[in-house]
């Protein structure tokens, strides 16, 4: 080692030596920075501009912030490789501020499609849309399972197939979450008003004679299970665990408990255990839980004990083996049109670019909504230190082009692996669609697609 280098280094701690380290090491730091810091870095000097313009770097950033599945899907959809630049793509994704809705239709003359309903479950798993149960006119429950193969493109014409299995028993207000290739269904209410607490595992199967079909199996959970309920919220935390919160339990009481289900490797057994931690979100129903990646889930809205419509946001994360709830504080007054934010019976789905897309539901004035709100997850606190900050600018309203769907609540949504296509089905809508409910609302049987438009 040259003595001269070490002497000058000793005397010049805050100097240029840091820029003399290999590019790979600078990349290590860059890949840990948020985008605005990387772009600030690119304006500092020519050398850093060159380093931060590397297309390989931006591909890594796309993978980091959009996910590998999404990046693969985008590559497949790309039409023009010559003009393709990862940095341009990142910028485009970042700047999306609207969605385009498309009404999906069924093959001409096809009479086999799910009837109108609400509080059903809708999932995207193994390239298929899967629909189960729900409530329909007369307050009756449904117990039918429907599957439609989607594949990788977004279809204009969809063919549903019904699966006659008789299980699980009919219900609405249940939850059904995707866990890898499986669906995990829990709870719900039937038309006698009985709350359930059984757990089911479902899977798309390919049968030689029947083609694509779906099969359900009850999960053996032993003696411990959460108290029966419906209108609770659930989502998957990782490839083995699911979390549920709240809901309406026995005697119509709103619950505020948190439970975790852990599946065995074989998926034949599961164990439930309650997470009794404080603070935790107050009791509620009709709220949403969504996994936002890296073992974190977000809870939003719902209807509380006093029947009020809520707008609080809670983050559930695991930290060194423990789960904890952190309330994410934000200033409702400072958000344009923020008064419409409290929601119940809405949907919250993760879409392209680390955003939570919140659609529909009912607001505090009992109006059904048709708007799209985005919660910007990337500005969320990731350490305890920032958990007391009141965040601003985390909510954005997106425009919607194309087909204009009816305002609805207690509909269901799911997103495909690209994160660009959100499917919406059913729900309660205004007006006399089915002309049976005395309160002037009806159940809807519309299926439409919400697309995040990208030029590829």
């Amino acid at each position: 080692m040259e003595e001269t280098t070490s002497v000058s280094y000793n005397q010049n701690y805050s100097g240029s030596p840091i820029t003399n380290i290999p590019q790979d090491y600078i990349f290590t730091i860059i890949l840990l920075l948020p985008i605005d810091a990387i772009l600030s870095l690119s304006v500092t000097c020519k050398r850093f501009k060159a380093i931060t313009s590397s297309d390989t770097l931006w591909k890594s950033l796309c993978k980091r912030d959009l996910g590998s599945t999404c990046v693969d899907s985008l590559l497949k959809s790309c039409n023009n490789f010559n003009q393709f630049s990862w940095m341009k793509l990142y910028k485009q994704v970042y700047q999306i501020d609207s969605v385009c809705c498309h009404k999906l239709s069924y093959p001409h003359g096809d009479l086999d499609f799910p009837k109108a309903r609400a509080s059903h479950s809708l999932n995207f798993v193994s390239d298929c849309l899967v629909l189960f149960g729900g409530g329909c006119d007369g307050g009756r429950h449904l117990d039918d399972t429907w599957v439609a193969y989607i594949g990788n493109d977004f279809p204009r014409i969809l063919k549903w197939k019904t699966v006659h299995s008789g299980i699980p028993s009919g219900r609405f207000g249940h939850t059904c979450v995707e866990m890898g290739d499986l669906l995990v269904l829990f709870g719900g209410i039937n038309d006698h008003g009985n709350r359930q607490n059984d757990t089911w595992i479902g899977k798309v199967t390919h049968n030689e004679n029947k083609g694509i079909t779906f099969s359900w199996k009850m999960l053996d959970v032993g003696n411990i299970a959460p108290p029966p309920r419906g209108a609770h919220a659930a989502c998957c935390i990782d490839d083995k665990r699911m979390v549920i919160h709240g809901g309406i339990g026995l005697h119509g009481l709103r619950l505020g408990d948190t439970w975790i289900l852990e599946l065995s490797d074989s998926h034949c057994f599961g164990t439930w255990h309650e997470i009794a931690i404080h603070p935790s979100p107050p009791p509620r129903s009709g709220h949403t839980l969504t996994c936002i990646g890296r073992n974190r889930t977000i809870l939003f809205g719902g209807r509380g004990l006093g029947y009020e419509v809520l707008h609080d946001l809670w983050l559930l994360e695991s930290c060194q083996g423990y789960m904890r709830w952190i309330q994410v504080l934000y200033d409702l007054q400072n958000i344009p049109d923020g008064v419409s934010l409290p929601r119940v019976g809405h949907t919250a789905t993760m879409v392209l670019g680390g955003r939570l897309l919140i659609y529909g539901g009912e607001d505090s004035s009992r109006h059904r909504k048709n708007d799209f709100w985005i919660l910007d997850i990337s500005s969320f606190p990731s350490t305890t230190a920032s958990s007391k900050r009141v965040l601003t600018r985390i909510w954005k309203r997106w425009k919607s082009n194309g087909y204009e769907p009816k305002s609805r609540s207690f509909h269901r949504t799911c997103v495909d692996p690209s994160g660009r296509h959100l499917y919406v089905f059913g729900g309660m809508v205004d007006g006399l669609v089915q002309a049976v409910e005395p309160s002037g609302l009806g159940f809807d049987k519309e299926l439409f697609l919400v697309e995040l438009v990208l030029q590829l």
């Binding site: 240029s16 840091i18 840990l32 810091a37 500092t44």
Partner: protein
């Protein structure tokens, strides 16, 4: 020199000599985590005082403190927060460069994250000062670049 009675690696210490001539002791199992040190030990043997020309007495004790905690498996988020709490930006940079030189991967990754955290939401001027780089753009070039990149700016923290 007479060796200590127990010759198992866990209680063996290595002597490290900094660029400014000071000597520090480190357990052999901790030294193993720093690949540069391990390579020198492999070449020179573990009885000799290992020379580290590019690391100095100001930062080596801190590095040794980190790896001492590491071999007992006690590095927690709290420990890491405490570790960098009183360090100013220059001190973190020096440790970062030393960790790079010593090929001390865990410390290097931890400090990378810390540097990234310190740069988050800071202005371009702050980042320039931090890396000690000169602005070699013309005013026109710079304002054009800033405009092109404005899409990502969320808001700058007050320079601390």
């Amino acid at each position: 020199m007479a060796q200590e009675a127990s010759s198992s690696t866990s209680s063996k210490t290595i002597s490290l000599k900094t660029g400014d001539g000071e000597i520090f002791e480190i357990e052999a199992s901790a030294a193993k985590q720093m690949k540069t040190v391990q390579r020198l030990i492999d070449d020179l043997g573990d009885d000799i005082t290992i020379p580290l020309h590019n690391v100095f007495s100001k930062e080596l004790p801190k590095i040794i403190e980190y790896y001492k905690k590491d071999i007992t498996g006690e590095i927690t988020k709290d420990f890491e927060a405490e570790f960098v709490k009183d360090l100013n930006d220059d001190e973190v940079k020096v440790l970062f460069l030393a960790a790079n030189y010593l090929d001390a991967n865990k410390l290097f990754e931890f400090l990378s994250q810390n540097i990234a955290d310190r740069l988050e939401s800071k202005s371009v001027e702050y980042v320039r000062k931090y890396f000690g780089v000169e602005n070699d753009f013309t005013p026109e070039e710079e304002s054009k670049l800033r405009e092109e990149r404005a899409w990502s700016f969320r808001g700058i923290k007050e320079d601390e």
